[in-house]
């Protein structure tokens, strides 16, 4: 009887201690998860900003002006174009890999 109660007392102690540690760990992990979520949000924002920046730089008006003025290019007209018959290769879809 005495031994049994001693055993149970020990078990109780262990369980109590593990409860405390588990609780502590869960809090720590929670804080970490939180921080990572913040980070994810921050990265998403950065992605948005960069995407906007790229859009700003790749604006048609800007490209057109640069091509015409700085690089002195002209639009391709049909008489300067070589038309090749055949199956068009499957072009990589632009925009792929654009997802965050």
């Amino acid at each position: 009887m005495g031994r049994l109660s001693l055993l149970f007392a020990c078990l109780l102690m262990i369980s109590a201690l593990s409860l405390v540690t588990a609780r502590f760990q869960s809090r720590q992990l929670f804080v970490q998860a939180d921080r990572l979520e913040d980070k994810a949000r921050e990265l998403d924002t950065d992605w948005r900003r960069l995407q906007l920046e790229r859009a700003e730089l790749a604006r048609n008006a800007r490209i057109d002006a640069t091509a015409r003025k700085e690089l002195e290019m002209v639009s391709a007209t049909p008489d300067r174009t070589l038309y090749i018959k055949g199956q068009a290769p499957v072009a990589p879809v632009p925009g792929e890999g654009d997802r965050p």
């Binding site: 809090r27 804080v31 939180d34 948005r48 995407q51 906007l52 048609n60 008006a61 057109d64 008489d79």
Partner: protein
């Protein structure tokens, strides 16, 4: 002194009255029961209140903001609208009194405001929340935060950017400061674009850190991203061509639409004058009007092919029926209808090519008002097009019972009814396809479009040939494009000023499609009140049409269907040129 032991002390022998001990006992009991009652009260009766008070001290509900969806063009790689975080700077006037002048002037410099301006916002000390400036970039806001100006605080918000600026302004529209769409696509698809904010209930510790979630998190649902049918490249080309024409002709306004014939997608939709949606001060006045969609006008000659096709369709005329348009003046129902030049005998193709009003009047004599009204209604005139866009105008087409006889004639050549440019372009898809009108969309189309048969394919083919001639060397030759066969009709309509047709204000339009052998795009251009270098549709709008068609077909990679003299050293079959 005699020593007395404690228990022998005479004091102890004094008999106390019994009531005193009872009193103590009763008082103690009362005390205990008071405690018991209090405990019962706290634990049993006011638990809810106390728990609430406790929660209020350590629990917080955080709002998880949802981000508004982005808007892309049809390629999915060009961002037309996107939100990034920004901050609002606000202040409590009473606390802000302690801010030094040096701090305020530095703040003013950072925010681009004068110190006077900031101070004027802080005058009313009864208020405890005053916006100083909204939509401040995060970097700037961080810098301001480091200055630690007393009484100044910050609040997170979102700022919407439109990288393409004035080029797509009317299509995309813009949002107000609360991130709600108030124009264009931003308004039309506001519910799809705006997400649903989430919330989470958390316990915070002494330092304000989140320690744990109390309830399950309601995650925020970000707004959907939209993919429009607009092609950023075509949009830019149309914009440039239209802008050039507006400057050349000193016109008041202009609009252009490019529609993909096969899918009914609107590839470009341009309005001028325009505005910069990124600049809040610029967003006002008539520049906001999406003229192509919301403004209606009397179409004039661009209406003629529809009447001619109707007459051919119900076999009131054939392609060889001849009409004597005489010397250019024709008395009809008490009015004189006149042509620009004398044309003599014309068949229907000639009437369209020479754009003869008299010829159209003669065709209309063989039609009834009801037949015309039915066909025009079928073509979508007089009712709002099914384009998911705010403010689509339905135009005006009066019921046929109320047409006067002269009106049947004027309707035949495009006066007496009003349409929007979008309706016109939409109706022309019938000629560009096999007599069926495709349904329009501003979103990238997945799957097959629906279409309504309006004319028979045979009649469509005939009209297409006539329209090609009308845009040919004898017609609006400025509409011609190198390497491609184009078809279309120019129109010049007088503007109504104070209820009368003006003799100085016009609207030049051109609607057509290309390439004729297998049409890919319908292009509609209208130029409002051109003031210099001509005003005829064939003079002001046709060159824009040609520019737009040339660049659009090149961008779409459509092979030329007209013979061209190649300047390239190698022939198409790889052989050297002769």
């Amino acid at each position: 002194m005699k020593r007395v032991r404690f228990y022998d002390s005479p004091v102890l022998n004094v008999q106390m009255p019994l009531w005193r001990s009872r009193l103590v006992l009763i008082l103690l009991m009362l005390g205990f029961s008071a405690l018991g009652v209090k405990a019962l009260y706290l634990q049993g009766l006011s638990t809810e209140f106390l728990q609430q008070q406790g929660e209020r001290r350590y629990e917080r509900t955080l709002v998880l903001p949802a981000t508004r969806g982005k808007i892309f063009d049809r390629s999915g790689s060009v961002v037309l609208a996107s939100s990034v975080p920004a901050r609002a700077i606000w202040a409590i006037p009473e606390d802000a009194k302690n801010a030094s002048d040096a701090q305020l002037s530095r703040l003013g410099k950072l925010l681009g405001m004068s110190v006077k301006d900031i101070k004027s916002r802080l005058v009313d000390e009864d208020k405890n929340f005053v916006y100083i400036k909204r939509q401040v970039s995060v970097e700037l806001a961080d810098e301001i935060k480091h200055m630690k100006v007393p009484g100044f605080h910050q609040q997170a918000e979102m700022r919407r950017f439109y990288p393409e600026g004035d080029i797509t302004a009317h299509v995309i529209g813009f949002t107000n400061i609360e991130d709600k769409g108030i124009e264009g696509v931003e308004l039309a698809f506001n519910s799809e674009l705006s997400g649903r904010p989430g919330s989470r209930r958390v316990i915070k510790d002494r330092l304000g850190r989140v320690v744990e979630d109390v309830q399950a998190i309601v995650p925020p649902v970000d707004g959907q991203d939209l993919m429009l049918s607009i092609d950023a490249g075509l949009q830019f080309d149309t914009f440039t061509a239209l802008k050039k024409a507006l400057e050349e002709h000193k016109a008041k306004a202009g609009a252009g639409i490019v529609i993909d014939v096969r899918t009914g997608e609107i590839l470009a939709l341009v309005n001028l004058p325009t505005y910069d949606p990124n600049d809040r001060d610029d967003r006002k006045g008539p520049a906001l009007r999406n003229r192509a969609i919301t403004d209606t006008f009397e179409p004039g000659s661009i209406m003629k092919p529809f009447t001619a096709a109707l007459a051919l369709d119900i076999k009131r005329i054939t392609t060889s029926t001849l009409f004597d348009t005489g010397n250019g003046h024709y008395r009809y129902q008490g009015s004189t209808i006149s042509d620009v030049s004398r044309n003599g005998m014309l068949n229907v193709a000639g009437i369209l090519r020479r754009s003869s009003n008299i010829g159209m009047t003669m065709i209309s004599e063989r039609l009834t008002s009801q037949e015309m009204w039915n066909k025009f209604t079928e073509l979508g005139f007089g009712r709002a097009p099914q384009a998911n866009f705010p403010g689509v105008a339905s135009g005006r087409l009066r019921p046929w019972e109320r047409w006067r006889p002269i009106e049947r004639a004027t309707m035949a050549y495009g006066y007496g009814l009003s349409v929007s440019l979008l309706q016109m372009a939409h109706a022309y898809t019938a000629f560009a396809r096999n007599g069926d009108m495709v349904s329009l969309t501003l979103l990238k189309r997945e799957g097959k479009p629906t279409s309504v048969q309006v004319y028979t394919p045979q009649v469509t083919t005939q009209i297409r040939a006539m329209l090609e001639a009308a845009a040919g060397p004898d017609g609006a030759k400025l509409a011609q494009v190198q390497g491609y066969r184009v078809a279309g009709k120019s129109g010049t309509a007088r503007q109504i000023v104070n209820g009368k047709y003006s003799t100085s204000l016009y609207r030049g339009s051109f609607v057509g499609f290309a390439p004729v052998s297998n049409p890919r795009i319908v292009v509609a251009i209208t130029i409002d009140e051109p003031h210099s270098n001509g005003y005829y549709g064939g003079r002001v709008a046709a060159p824009v049409f040609a520019d737009v068609v040339a660049s659009s077909l090149r961008r779409l990679g459509v092979q030329p269907d007209a013979p061209i003299e190649s300047l390239v050293a190698i022939g198409p079959n790889g052989e050297a040129p002769q």
